[in-house]
């Protein structure tokens, strides 16, 4: 029996992954443990090893396309099996399929289905619509359980099929009328007819770009957060004079001891990690009808990579001194750019800080990164007139907004955290 190579789940909440690069090609001999491809998740790139020793056959997954976890991407034919298979030209995949008995279930209905659909999971309705619209299911990304293609996936693919002059079902039994009605039924959008109406409709709709794997995860997690966690927001405007001075002094000290220059974000993370010790309910998660108080303080820092949101985590931030935190932060940022971070380093924080000050944002509210209980949104530091001792003076001020999950955090608890944050940033000596 040939061994199926599936797209593995390399991270807890991973639903899809992208094969970044194949290290082998059709017909290559691999040994168990050899790297056969690289998989990209929303958080990292990892190497995947061959599950068996044998010849690689029927590579079905292209690089750069999001694939659902569990989808077979190739097979490894073991020694004896390879021997019974004559060597075919690697390119002629269809011929391979015809000559080589396909592994497992596809054999049964190989006659009825092309190679394109035999390894795929798709619902009967999805197959029907694909059949009627002459759509190759292989080109469709399944978003259902274990990568199953459902009606909505096929419909999305049909809408994406860009050329309106496409031979939509011209050579399909049932004719264009039938398929148009199916497409209409399926898509919920009702093109008046196959031709011009559809075209003008499409122009007004703009470009439809399917979510990337990361976008899909971000969308689902943050929707989930907004749906389940009742958010409330507290904003404090905090004077940054002392914090700024402190950063200046720390920069010199770090230079002396060979640590990276600390950024404001690192300083805020350090301060937050310190005061979170006194506010266990902010460093907590809602779990069913209970509050999980986390034993450790792991602070996630929201970052952007190629347009995607990623949140590397300063693990056990509560135990780090400033140089350690600056070093760890630099390592994470570096690793993120080089995509060498593991999924573990990119998930599982207990509290998140998102700083958009460098983009000139004055203040904003953030969506809690589930299952955490709170997130701190930091705006820019800007000189503003404030009243001090009866005088209007200019001071560097910044807005901090805490989003809290009201299921576990009450207003007063969040306010106390914000009060301590203000005190610590305005008078850092209180941290001593």
């Amino acid at each position: 029996m040939p061994v199926e190579v599936i797209l593995p789940k390399v991270d807890m909440d991973m639903e899809t992954g992208t094969i970044e690069a194949w290290h082998v090609k059709e017909g290559d001999l691999v040994r168990q443990g050899d790297t056969i491809f690289e998989i990209g998740t929303n958080k990292a790139v990892m190497e995947v090893e061959a599950p068996a020793t044998g010849a690689i056959r029927n590579i079905t997954a292209e690089t750069g396309v999001p694939i659902s976890v569990g989808t077979p991407v190739a097979w490894i034919y073991l020694d004896g099996e390879a021997a019974t298979t004559p060597s075919e030209p690697a390119a002629a995949a269809a011929t391979v399929a015809a000559a080589t008995p396909l592994p497992q279930a596809p054999i049964a209905h190989a006659a009825a289905m092309s190679l394109a659909t035999s390894g795929l999971r798709a619902t009967p309705l999805a197959r029907r619509i694909a059949r009627q619209n002459a759509l190759d299911l292989k080109s469709v990304t399944g978003t259902g359980p274990r990568g199953r293609i459902g009606e909505k996936d096929v419909t999305a693919a049909l809408i994406l099929r860009s050329d309106p002059q496409d031979r939509v079902s011209k050579d399909v039994p049932g004719g264009s009328g039938a398929s148009a009605s199916i497409l209409r039924d399926a898509a919920g959008a009702a093109p008046q007819d196959e031709g011009s109406g559809k075209k003008s409709c499409r122009q007004s709709e703009g470009r439809l770009q399917p979510f990337s794997a990361i976008r899909r995860i971000v969308a689902s997690r943050l929707s989930e957060s907004m749906r389940t966690a009742p958010h409330f927001y507290l904003t404090s405007e905090i004077e940054m004079t002392a914090a700024r001075d402190l950063l200046g002094r720390l920069a010199k000290r770090h230079e002396r001891i060979g640590a990276p220059k600390p950024s404001l974000t690192v300083l805020i993370a350090r301060v937050a990690a310190r005061i979170l010790r006194d506010h266990p309910v902010i460093n907590a998660s809602a779990e069913g009808e209970a509050t999980r108080f986390h034993a450790r303080i792991d602070i996630g820092i929201a970052m952007e990579r190629d347009g995607d949101l990623v949140v590397p985590v300063l693990r056990d931030a509560g135990a780090m001194d400033m140089p350690a935190m600056a070093r760890e932060f630099a390592r994470l940022r570096d690793g993120m750019a080089k995509r060498t971070l593991t999924p573990v380093e990119l998930g599982g924080g207990t509290f998140t800080i998102s700083n958009l000050g460098m983009y000139g944002v004055d203040s904003f509210t953030a969506i809690i990164n589930p299952p955490q209980g709170a997130i701190l949104a930091v705006g820019r530091t800007i000189d503003k007139p404030v009243g001090r001792d009866g005088q209007i003076v200019l001071r560097p001020m910044a807005n901090f907004t805490l989003s809290s999950d009201h299921r576990i955090v009450d207003g007063v608890a969040a306010a106390r955290f914000m009060a301590d944050l203000r005190e610590a940033l305005e008078n850092p000596e209180v941290l001593l």
């Binding site: 619902t123 009967p124 309705l125 999805a126 029907r128 259902g144 199953r148 459902g150 009606e151």
Partner: protein, 340 residues
């Protein structure tokens, strides 16, 4: 009273399920002297669940008969009475006790019409209070309807509303063949609109209790009611569920189910009987074998009773059969994730 006033009263009149059954019995006995009622404690005591109530006082002990505790004897007497021209309605005090009457129901009542080439028929009705939820434990809480739906020659009904309880009982009494009506014990006290006149609800026709587009939920008896309540909550969550109340599981209204699934592409079957080998399996297979298969966008999901005797412990008893929450969760998962 002028007749239009009577009509107005009839329109808003509410009866409990038990009262509706009693009214049907009374009307049938008034209309046809061949109809009589018998069973354990149906007379002076008024029935274990109070269904027969005052009927013994209205019709006398010759037509409302208290029997000895022998289900086989009652069922055999009913078969004999039916063959010889009567219209017996018998009550099996708890549907669980029907095990004792199996020979008469399955080997005699169901077969006689066929084996006598149509020269004899068995127009009898069996009423069976069933289902869990009353703390009556394993021998008084089962849902055995699927057993009888497996027997050609029997009709099996599961009305879910007072309206259907009355209309289906009257239709069953009219029917020339043996009909079993499973009445869920928890439904007896539920109320609903019941017209005063004698009317019939046709046997073998499902009712669409709520129209929807995202998922079809099929249930009968109390599960139809739970599905309706679940659909209400699902609607608040943006999911449009179509609820089909089977009303009759043999004959089964496959057309209504199939048309609904063709529209919604998803099917959830809910039943209180043990999930394994239950009516959900039959409905799932019917859909999977039919042309509607090509319209499924997710696996068919069954929610059925646990593979366990009904526990006495009230918490476990509840957990052993599908509840409204289970239906909501299963339907939402089916629509949103494509699995249960």
């Amino acid at each position: 009273m002028p007749s239009d006033t009577l009509e107005a009263v009839s329109e808003i009149r509410e009866l409990s399920y038990a009262e509706a059954v009693r009214e049907a019995l009374g009307q049938a006995m008034e209309a046809d002297e061949r109809v009589f009622l018998f069973g354990e404690d149906v007379g002076v005591y008024g029935g274990a669940f109070g269904v027969s109530g005052d009927l013994v006082h209205r019709f006398g002990t010759e037509r409302v008969i208290d029997t000895p505790i022998s289900e086989l004897g009652i069922a055999g007497a009913a078969v004999g009475a039916a063959i010889t021209g009567m219209r017996p309605v018998l009550e099996i005090q708890f549907s669980d006790f029907v095990t004792l009457a199996m020979e008469q129901l399955v080997n005699q009542a169901a077969k006689i019409r066929f084996m006598f080439g149509g020269k004899a028929s068995v127009p009898m009705v069996v009423r069976l209070p069933g289902g869990s939820g009353t703390g009556a434990a394993a021998q008084h809480s089962q849902s055995l309807e699927a057993w009888f739906a497996h027997v050609p020659g029997l009709k099996v009904l599961q009305p879910s509303t007072p309206h259907d309880a009355k209309g289906m009982l009257l239709a069953a009494i009219d029917d020339p063949n043996p009909v079993l009506i499973f009445e869920h014990k928890l439904l007896y006290k539920t109320k609903g609109h019941v017209p005063a006149e004698a009317y019939r609800v046709p046997i073998g026709q499902a009712a669409i209790r709520r129209e929807g587009t995202d998922v079809t939920i099929v249930g009968s008896s109390i599960m139809a009611r739970k599905a309706e309540a679940a659909a209400e909550r699902l609607a608040a969550d943006g999911i449009s569920a179509e609820v089909i109340d089977l009303r009759s599981i043999r004959p089964i209204d496959f057309t209504t189910i199939a048309e609904s699934v063709r529209k919604t592409h998803r099917l959830l079957v809910v039943y209180e009987g043990v999930k394994t080998m239950g009516i959900g399996a039959e409905i799932s297979a019917m859909i999977a074998e039919s042309e509607v298969f090509d319209f499924l966008d997710a696996p068919i999901i069954r929610l059925g009773g646990a593979d366990s005797p009904i526990p006495y412990n009230p918490v476990l008893e509840k957990a052993a059969v599908p509840q409204e929450d289970d239906i909501v969760t299963a339907a939402a998962n089916l629509v949103r994730r494509g699995e249960a």
